[in-house]
Amino acid sequence: MASAADVIVVGGGVIGSAIAYYLSQEGTKVALVERGDVASGTSSACDGNILVIDKMPGYDSQLALKSQELLAELVESLDYDLEYAQRGSVLVVEDEKQAQVARDWFTRQKDAGLPMRYLEGKEVFEDEPLLAHDMVGLVECASDASLNPMAFVYGLISGARRAGAMIHPFTEVTGFLQDSTGVVRGVETTHGTISADKVVLAAGVWTPGLAATVGVNVPIKPRKGHILVAERSPHPARRKVQEFGYLLAKFGGTEGRSVEPDMDRYGVAMVFEPTEHGNFLIGSSREFVGFDQRCNHHVLELMARRALRFFPTIRDIRVIRTYAGLRPYTPDHLPIVSPVPTVPGLYIAAGHEGDGIGLAPITGRLIAQMIVGEPTAVATEPLRIDRFVNKEHKGE
């Protein structure tokens, strides 16, 4: 089978699906190629956060805020139940030492125009009564939301399909077609050749392997994260709650928490997320173990212990399932959303680590704007792949 398109998107996770959706809305003829089912890799082994609260104040948080606005439009325009709920989210502060850092974080975000509040003392327990009684503060972001990440992918895919995109699941890319000057002309797949003048790699942690075949070095590494799923039960909080120490774990350097050493070693930080079906999810962990996606029982125990530190009332609620996903890590915690200067026609949209669900809308929009040649919704300089050239980045 041979076919043709304007743009080929490689990857049927949330990033590739969002790109296919936004491009097809522009009237571009899109072919999306995914080696498994859509939503079968990292996008099916994550939680469903659309957060600004855990982004670095500045470019990072403005990018996330823009993505939240686009998502609110998608909830209206996609004919699919995304299980979207905009309840806001909070960071919970454990002690006075952390409170000093948290107040500074809050002030910088609020000054940048984000819808934030800081609660302390009695206000904490009026707001979330089931938190452990020695908590000292809460940072709240009112615009934060959550959804079902797999439903999000299915919604984007069906929207793209309705706009004319060709979706090819269970089809693996086996090579790239290039002309004599190196310009991209399409891809070879397990089901035949597809020709196109533009190819977007949106394959998350699997992007470096594909890019290497055309001589492009992509500094993305798989970072494993575990999640525990609780049975349907009364929720210990009314919205997303993360320990403030999660930010420390995310950006490196967990100093300042008094936890058992293995919690720092595995980047264990409590993240609570209620779901629309009455279950709740408990995260999080971070480790570099290659492509090993098996659950590490020791880490699951650490995560359960950490959760009980903040929510002692969940002691008798049952964990019914656990899973681990591979988050595409980049050395500076920003994704790569960029043309590839050395291979004309090739683009990369990957490396969102734990922010892929939340940043999918803005990523899809930006790639679509780059390809059709419109001005981009935000500056894309910080997302370019050449920011890594000549810089030596060591993983954590």
């Binding site: 089912d37 269970f170 525990l228 349907r232 699951l300 125990e301 212990r305 964990v319 399932r321």
Partner: protein, 91 residues
């Protein structure tokens, strides 16, 4: 032939009709059905419904039952409370 209204996954109350719809939308295996419908995501984790889901897949896709495998097994083997898990083997 099962009726579309028959409940297959009792934990999450998923019907035959919903599973057939998921297959029409592209679900090609037990996990694909699970992700689209929640069948097998409840307290029993598919112990009751998994075989039936496999049978519906075989029927709808016109393939032999032997081509369908159960979903990936995820720990814990049986539900365990946060308290017991936290105590753990190394706690």
């Amino acid at each position: 032939m099962m009726d579309d209204d028959t409940i297959v996954c009792r934990c999450e109350e998923v019907t035959v009709g919903q599973i057939r719809q998921a297959i029409r939308e592209g679900a090609a295996d037990v996990t694909g059905v699970k992700r689209r419908t929640r069948a097998g995501m409840g307290l029993c984790q598919g112990r009751t419904c998994e075989k039936i889901v496999m049978r519906i897949l075989a029927q709808e896709l016109g393939k032999p039952l032997s081509e369908f495998a159960p979903a990936t097994v995820r720990p814990p083997v049986q539900p365990i409370t946060f308290g017991l898990l936290a105590e753990g083997t190394d706690g």
